[in-house]
Structures are given as structure tokens and as C-alpha cells.
Amino acid sequence: MYYREVSKIVKRKKEGLTLQFIPFSEISNLSSVERIKKLLKIILDNKVVVLQGRLKPEEESRLIEDTMIMIGNIKGFKGVELAVVEDNEEKTFFQKMRFGLAKAIAGQQNSITIIGPASIVKEMKRDPKRLEVMMR
């Protein structure tokens, strides 16, 4: 369901814009450092990453740290825009238990993370129900 929405989420305004979809299985076996390295490599290639699932909070903060270090060292790089779209549906107690168990086994796949270079993505506006991605 989320994957179909991605095409609606990202407004393609700039010619030559590339979205790179990464299924969670592609990063699930990587260490935190390798995950961030992989994502930043794609972003530095001027592509917008659409990741199935989300990073752990400590990985997100590490991504911000690495991004800040790169701003000073890579010419023209201004940072990233980042947003996570999650399933906000109210769940019953048993649904929560089921989702919790699935999350523990397979990781948090029930969300989508979008990360793009700030030189291409101007802004990501989020509210609980939708995400708007504005391109430069």
C-alpha cells in the first residue's frame, strides 16, 4: 500500500530526478555504520532514497552527524531532507502485540523513509496523515 503512495508523495518537478527504492531486506543484515554509508552514498549521487522501513533513532542521529561532517568536506553538499511516513492507524491490544512481535523479528518495515539531498529536495512537509516533498 505504501509503495503505491510513494509516487503520489514525491512530486516530480525536476527533470532527471532519480528515486532509488531500497527494500528493507537490502539493509537488514548491515551494521548501523554500513547502513548509513550505503544511504549517504546514494544521496551523494544526487538521488532520493525511498527506504522501506526506518532507521533506529541512534542511526538517524548518526546520519545527521555524518551529514554535518560531509557538509564541510564535500563541495556543494548542503545536507539532507529526511522524513518518515508511518502507519498511524489505531490498533487494538492484540494488533499492537502482533505488530510488536513482527517488528522484533523482521525490523520496522511498516513505514517508509525518504531521504534526499538538500540541493534537490527543498522541503518535506509532514503532518500525521501525509507527506509533501517539495523539489527545488
Partner: protein
């Protein structure tokens, strides 16, 4: 398990760390009013400021702190080390500073310092006993930076208080912040005008109990 851990932590604090200083961090996005709030507290209890404030983003580019700040509320008093941190952002563009008539070299220098400040702020997270997240109540609270900061604090088991600043402005909407973070206590204040500081100090004492 968590109940047992919290109980042990409380007992330890009660017997061994009664007079200790609580490291209280001010985190949030740029220009939310972290330094204004830290200044307000410092002025109220020490008569001094902690740092400079300005309308331009990334004015605070280093972690700055004030030790031995004794805050009194009703008949209780607690000692804090206030830690004011640079605003956390995912992008820093020197050209944004040039829009405020800053010269290119100066803007580049400010951008570099801002990026270093963000790294420093994130690294300081581990040293906090409790954190106040300062949000601009006129802005959309659903930014990923806010969620990332809170997620990191939860992962580190650090108690959080959310402050909705700038309630003196017309566009201010505390309800939006409360709706975005329903699990947390949200206090609306105006650090600039000193509005609702009594309720704020009451919440700080509640927060300190959890630390």
C-alpha cells in the same frame, strides 16, 4: 523489570545523590528559543545570561552551560547544570545566512561552525540527566529532527519535557504540539516575555524527579 529498575534508580538517587547537580539539556530545532529559555532561567535564579540570542538561525554554535543554578519551587530547591545546545538540523546552507546581508566568507564560517555545533549537540545527549525539548509553537511540530531527538532520548531512557515556546505570537498553536506528542507533558511558555514560567518550573521539578 522497568518498575524495578526505576525503583532502584530512585533509591540510589535518594541515598547517594541527594545534593547532586542535575544536568538539564535544552534541545530542539534552530530558532525555537532554547537560549532564550535558558537565559530566562539563568536570569531568574542567578541574574546572569547563558548566551546570546538573535533572529538569525544557528546563533548558538557551541554547547554552553551554566553550573550550580539553584531553582526554588514552593518549599523545594534543586541544583541544575543547564546545558544549552545548538539547534539540530539536517541541512546547513551558508547561502541562507547571506540573505541576512552576511558576507560570503563570514556566512561560510558560520555554516561550518553550525555543522560542528550540531555534531557536538548530538554527542552531548549521553551526558544529560533530563532534557527539555524547546519547540516553536508557531511551526509545524512534525519534523523528523524533533522525532529523531525524542527517539534518541527514549532509547537512552532520559526523561523529557516538551516546551511550546512563543505562545505570545498569534500563530502559536500548542494543541498541535500536544497532538504530535501525546505521550509527553507539554508546557506553553513565552521565554521572551516570561509568560507561564510558574507552570514551567513546576514541570521542571516533576521532570527532575524522574531523572
Amino acid at each position: 523489570m522497568k518498575i524495578l529498575r526505576d525503583f532502584t534508580k530512585r533509591m540510589f538517587n535518594l541515598f547517594f545523590r541527594r545534593n547532586r547537580e542535575i544536568s538539564l539539556g535544552f534541545y530542539g530545532p534552530p530558532n525555537a528559543g532554547k537560549t532564550s529559555l535558558a537565559n530566562r532561567i539563568c536570569k531568574d535564579w542567578t541574574g546572569e545570561d547563558i548566551g546570546k540570542v538573535s533572529k538569525m538561525a544557528h546563533e548558538t554554535r557551541n554547547v554552553q552551560f551554566k553550573e550550580e543554578v539553584e531553582i526554588k519551587y514552593k518549599d523545594k530547591s534543586l541544583k541544575f547544570k543547564l546545558v544549552d545546545t545548538p539547534g539540530i538540523a539536517t541541512k546547513v546552507d551558508y547561502e541562507d545566512f547571506m540573505k541576512s546581508k552576511m558576507k560570503k566568507k563570514q556566512a561560510q564560517k558560520r555554516a561550518k561552525e553550525a555543522t560542528q555545533g550540531i555534531v557536538e549537540a548530538i554527542r552531548w545527549l549521553d551526558d544529560m540527566d533530563a532534557v527539555i525539548i524547546v519547540l516553536d509553537s508557531t511551526e509545524n511540530p512534525y519534523s523528523q529532527v524533533n522525532l529523531t531527538i525524542i527517539g534518541n532520548l527514549v532509547a537512552r531512557d532520559i526523561p523529557v519535557l516538551i516546551v511550546a515556546n512563543k505562545i505570545d505570537l498569534k500563530k502559536s498553536d500548542i494543541k498541535k504540539i500536544e497532538a504530535a506528542f501525546p505521550e509527553y507533558e507539554v508546557v506553553g511558555i513565552s521565554a521572551k516575555q516570561g509568560k507561564n514560567m510558574d507552570e514551567f518550573y513546576e514541570s521542571v521539578f516533576k521532570l527532575a524527579k524522574k531523572a
